[in-house]
């Protein structure tokens, strides 16, 4: 079952005297190295490792695909139940080259589902059709072998529908769905929901999923909020519908770049025009629905009643109706106010927390900075007192190092505030004598378990 390549070259006639001779052999083969990549390499390995001829492998694969298909179907997944759709002769006679005008859903037997078909359903439908219409299979049963054109139609249909972007392009202009199938507006108000629901469900298919679920039309019991949300959504409808599928082809074989560019530009303009028209179409449609929506009429009447009630307030008999719109309005306002306050409070708290965090950070940084300063002052106390050796003496490097190291050690053991205390103490006693500073430092060392004794 290898793919058959159709070549347009006509074979000549064999002379009447023709007799086949002994075939001679092909040139010697050469060594090569396969790159271990791609699904065809995997297929090559499958044949090699299982020691299968091309034909044996075909049979095994066909069986496996069939089983897989049955498994998916047999899973009883309702979603995949795509049924069997008879193909009309017109459909079977289609020329695969005319794929642009082909109804891809009909070809795969999905006319009933159309844009509602899931990717899995498309996959299963394709496999079903492939098994049914494979040229090899047909050759056996009908003898009409020439005809693999419908098989090619199937391949095209699958190519378009299995690619999400191309499928959207096709769905955008799916001729089997009539955009104009819209109520006239003169129907009885009771029928509003039945008549308009399918219209909006149909339009909803173009909603970009990122905009969340599409609100439904609802029914006579829908709240005002729901109804408002519904119309809001459709007035601001974000549609992915696009019209590149209708692009005119650039004249094949024309290598005139200008011509090509011209056509491309024209296509772009056409797409934009169609898109604009489509947006206008939807707006008109929503306008129309809104104008005949019995709920809107009811809401208006209620509003009017509320106004009347307000006017009549204080007058005798101006009692509130059970569904007092004024009260409801007040209630709504109160709620809104509450929410607003809660939000404000939360925002304020957030702000405060942030400020507190910032403050803490600042304090810490300040302490750190201070610590450096404190340490420097302490060091100055040591050096300006000539390392406690008395005037005139020259401190050795060892002494200097030992004392400064010990100071480092002390500082690192203490909290910033303690360092500050130590500095204050040292400064105070330093006024009396240098040795007292030394004693303070030594005490600090001992208190912190430092045993190097540079200040002892």
């Amino acid at each position: 079952m290898s793919a058959i390549i159709d070549l347009p070259y006509q074979l000549g006639a064999a002379p009447s005297s023709f007799k086949p001779g002994q075939p001679s052999s092909l040139s010697a083969t050469k060594e090569t190295v396969l790159l271990p990549a791609g699904r065809s390499y995997a297929a090559h390995l499958r044949r090699q490792l299982n020691q299968l001829s091309f034909q044996q492998d075909d049979e095994r694969e066909a069986k496996r695909i069939q089983q897989e298909l049955e498994a998916t179907n047999g899973a009883g997944d309702l979603d995949l139940d795509i049924g069997d759709e008879p193909e009309s002769q017109d459909l079977l006679d289609r020329d695969p080259k005319e794929w642009k005008t082909q109804d891809h859903y009909a070809v795969l037997g999905l006319s009933a589902l159309r844009y509602k078909a899931t990717q899995d359903q498309i996959k299963v439908a394709h496999r079903k059709k492939v098994l049914k219409h494979h040229p090899d299979k047909k050759a056996g049963s009908s003898g009409l072998a020439n005809d693999d054109s419908f098989f090619k139609c199937i391949a095209k249909a699958y190519e378009v529908l299995s690619n999400p972007e191309r499928r959207r392009q096709f769905d955008s202009v799916d001729e089997a769905i009539d955009d104009e199938d819209v109520p006239t507006g003169r129907e009885k108000p009771e029928r509003f929901y039945d008549l308009w629901r399918p219209v909006f469900e149909r339009e909803a298919r173009f909603s970009d999923p990122k905009n969340g679920p599409v609100p439904s039309l609802g029914d006579a019991d829908s709240t005002r909020e729901e109804v408002d949300h519904f119309y809001d959504f459709f007035y601001n409808f974000d549609s992915w519908r696009s019209f590149e599928y209708l692009d005119k082809e650039v004249n094949e074989g024309s290598d005139n770049r200008d011509e090509k560019r011209y056509q491309e530009k024209k296509n772009r303009n056409e797409r934009a025009r169609r898109k604009k028209e489509d947006n206008a179409r939807l707006r008109n449609l929503v306008d129309k629905a809104l104008s005949v929506d019995p709920r809107i009429k009811q809401f208006k009447a209620q509003e009017k009643a509320a106004r009347e009630a307000k006017k009549n307030k204080g007058k005798v008999g101006g009692a509130a109706s059970p569904l007092d719109p004024k009260k409801a309005e007040e209630e709504r306002k109160r709620k809104e106010e509450e929410e607003r306050l809660a939000k404000e409070a939360a925002a304020k708290k957030e702000e405060e927390d942030k400020a507190a965090r910032a403050d803490a950070k600042k304090l810490k940084e300040a302490a750190k900075k201070n610590l450096k300063k404190e340490k420097k002052t302490l060091r100055n106390l040591i050096t300006s007192n000539n390392y406690f050796l008395g005037q005139g003496a020259t401190p050795s490097a060892d002494v200097i190092e030992a004392q400064l190291n010990e100071l480092d050690a002390i500082v690192s053991k203490l909290e910033p505030e303690q360092v500050q205390e130590l500095r204050q103490k040292c400064e105070k006693v330093g006024a009396e004598s240098a040795d007292k500073i030394k004693a303070e430092l030594d005490a600090a060392s001992k208190a912190n378990g430092i045993t190097t004794g540079a200040f002892a």
Binding site: M1, S2, A3, I4, I5, D6, L7, P8, Y9, Q10, L11, G12, A13, A14, P15, F18, P20, G21, P23, S24, S25, L26, S27, A28, T29, K30, E31, T32, V33, L34, L35, P36, A37, G38, R39, S40, Y41, A42, H44, L45, R47, L49, N50, F54, I65, V130, H134, P135, D136, K138, A139, G143, A145, N146, K156, N163, P164, R166, E252, D255
Partner: protein, 591 residues
């Protein structure tokens, strides 16, 4: 595959840029974006204090913090310091140092001088790619990865790369060479399913291939990256790929284009502001280079682009603009170098441009429109024989090919094949005995009478009133099977099979003289006679086999050819759809 087994990813770990692809819910490969929305991630790490910058964030550090920024480290993996050329050592970032023979970098990390080997740097970087993929896949476990390497990587380099990837936490399914990944990304010539033809790289709307060229194509992959350009010639035969030649040119790449742009802008700057950028003002040059690269990329998408640098030199700002035409003029020599590399590779493969069916663009710099235009001339795209393919963005092809192959490996129905592929050693294909195979050495075809209403291109392939239609070209790995269908003029039809020699017909065509009246004829250069080169196969005078088939003359003849691994072959011819018992069979012995 299904969620239970996890996702697979493909990684293009390039010397200049890296990218990651995964398989989306529609089963297609997508290059994923990191949290900054970037898909092409500079292969670069920078250390600043206790901060680590990876990818494009590290690029800005080249200006302020060059000595602590590590660049171009992928090609150092698996090599000793002694093997590294002076050219490779030259860099405006952290220098390569010799740490007992291991190429390494000395950088300040958190104020501490730290020596990192190329391996350690690679692990750090790959780990960040792994995290990016994990983030993107939010929770779905990553079941395996395929990584790409340049074709010239040695066993030691491939092993080192794999080791780094494993250390970074990846499950490495395979290390694949870039040209193979590029072909896989397109599934080139690979049947889509049982009994189906391959898909066209440009999709359903792609210009159809010449008749009979669907399964067997000679392919050139032009991979122009940042620091080098690689050209490979491959045989794609019903989805099985073999390498015919390969040329690595490290003297030309995207950074060569940056160089000429930097020079151009520097001159503009001086002209506009009278300020000259000092030779040693590394900061200014680094700033300008980073911006020039951004400008260059913008030119691949639009006709003109701006370049602005705040306080470029001596506190003076720069704003300049450049259009595509200017860039192409500046890059003319660079394109010529790429062209020479292509010609070199063709020569090594023993093929001419006219004998190439497909040119695939890979690597970030292959997005340059000027390069495409140049190669369209080299391969005479207008003649319609060679198809130039760039429908997948060139900077994504390799990562996507890797992801697809990862998918193929994990999703294959047979454990036998999967285990076999997984057990292949991490080595260049040419050093793996398991990958050795036999292939045809010459084209095998059928001779038909010169078609009456053929296109010009076909007419030029006619020799002595006969057309050699290739059924199985040279370089087809064995065993191979092809099936064709031909119309017939009458019954019995003659099927005459032969081998032949691939040839190229050269014709000179006088160019039409430009119309002297036409004042605004844009290209007024004197037109030279044009050379038209057409590939064809010159049949041997000896036939391999001749058979006749009786049939209903309104039907077609179906011919199946199977060539076995030992070089023997079986030809089966019959009226289409008829019983195999009625088929005419010719058995061709092995040589």
């Amino acid at each position: 595959m299904s969620e239970s087994t996890g996702a697979v990813i493909g990684i293009n770990f390039g010397q200049s840029y890296s990218s990651i692809a995964c398989i989306n819910q529609h089963g297609r490969a997508d290059v994923i974006a990191n949290e900054d929305g970037e898909r092409q991630l500079a292969t670069r790490i920078s250390f600043n204090g206790d901060q680590v910058y990876l990818g494009n964030q590290a690029t800005a550090q080249l200006v302020r913090n060059a000595p602590n920024t590590i660049d171009r480290f992928v090609n150092l993996l698996g090599r000793s310091f002694a093997e590294i050329t002076e050219d490779e050592k030259k860099r405006n970032s952290a220098q390569i140092i010799d740490n007992s023979g291991v190429p390494s970098f000395k950088v300040l990390i958190d104020e501490k001088e730290t020596v990192l080997s190329a391996h350690e740097v690679a692990v750090k970087y790959l780990r960040s790619l792994f995290l990016t993929a994990k983030d993107f896949l939010s929770g779905v476990p990553i079941a395996g990865a395929v990584l790409s390497v340049p074709q010239y990587f040695s066993t030691a380099q491939i092993e080192a790369l794999k080791k780094a990837a494993v250390e970074a936490g990846l499950i490495v399914l395979q290390v694949l060479t870039s040209p193979a990944a590029a072909l896989v990304a397109y599934g080139l010539t690979s049947p889509q399913g049982l009994g189906q033809l391959p898909s066209h790289p440009d999709g359903v709307e792609g210009a159809p291939y010449p008749a009979g060229k669907e399964l067997d194509r000679n392919v050139v992959v032009v991979d122009m990256g940042g620091s080098s350009t690689d050209v490979s010639v491959l045989a794609a035969r019903a989805g099985i790929y073999t390498l015919l030649s390969y040329v690595h040119n490290s003297s030309v790449g995207g950074s060569s284009v940056d160089d000429v742009l930097v020079k151009f802008f520097a001159k503009e700057f001086t002209k506009k502001t009278k300020v000259t950028i000092g030779e040693s003002d590394k900061r200014a040059w680094a700033k300008l280079r980073n911006e020039a690269e951004v400008t260059k990329r913008a030119l691949s998408a639009s006709n003109s682009a701006q370049c602005s640098v705040e306080s470029l030199a001596e506190g003076v700002d720069f704003t300049g603009s450049v259009n595509r035409m200017r860039l192409d003029l500046l890059s003319g020599e660079i394109y010529s170098k790429v062209q020479e590399t292509v010609e070199d590779a063709l020569k090594q493969a023993g093929l001419e441009a006219a004998q190439i069916d497909e040119v695939i663009f890979a690597g970030g710099s292959a997005r340059l429109p000027g390069l495409y235009e140049r190669l369209a001339i080299v391969f005479n795209e207008e003649a319609g024989n060679t198809h130039l393919t760039a429908s997948i963005d060139a900077d994504q092809v390799i990562a996507r090919g890797c992801a697809i192959n990862a998918q193929t490996i994990t999703a294959t129905s047979g454990e036998l094949e999967r285990d076999y592929i997984l057990s292949l050693p991490a080595k260049p294909a040419s050093e793996i005995p398991e990958l050795k195979a036999k292939a045809t050495s010459r084209p095998f075809g059928i001779l038909v009478p010169a078609p009456k209403e053929a296109s010009e291109a076909v007419e030029k392939q006619v020799v002595d009133g006969q057309l050699f239609v290739t059924l199985i070209p040279a370089e087809t790995p064995l065993p191979a099977r092809r099936t064709f269908r031909f119309p017939v003029s009458s019954s019995p039809a003659l099927l005459s099979f032969a081998e032949g020699t691939p040839s190229v017909r050269v014709e000179k065509i006088e160019a039409p003289q430009p119309d002297p009246e036409d004042e605004d004829d844009e290209d007024d250069e004197p037109l030279e006679p044009e050379e038209v080169r057409t590939a064809y196969v010159k049949p041997d005078s000896n036939k391999i086999a001749e058979v006749s088939v009786e049939l209903d003359a309104s039907k077609k003849v179906e011919v199946e050819v199977i060539v076995n691994a030992d070089g023997s072959a079986t030809i089966t011819a019959r009226e289409e759809g008829s019983d195999s018992s009625k088929a005419v069979v010719a058995k061709i012995p092995s040589a």
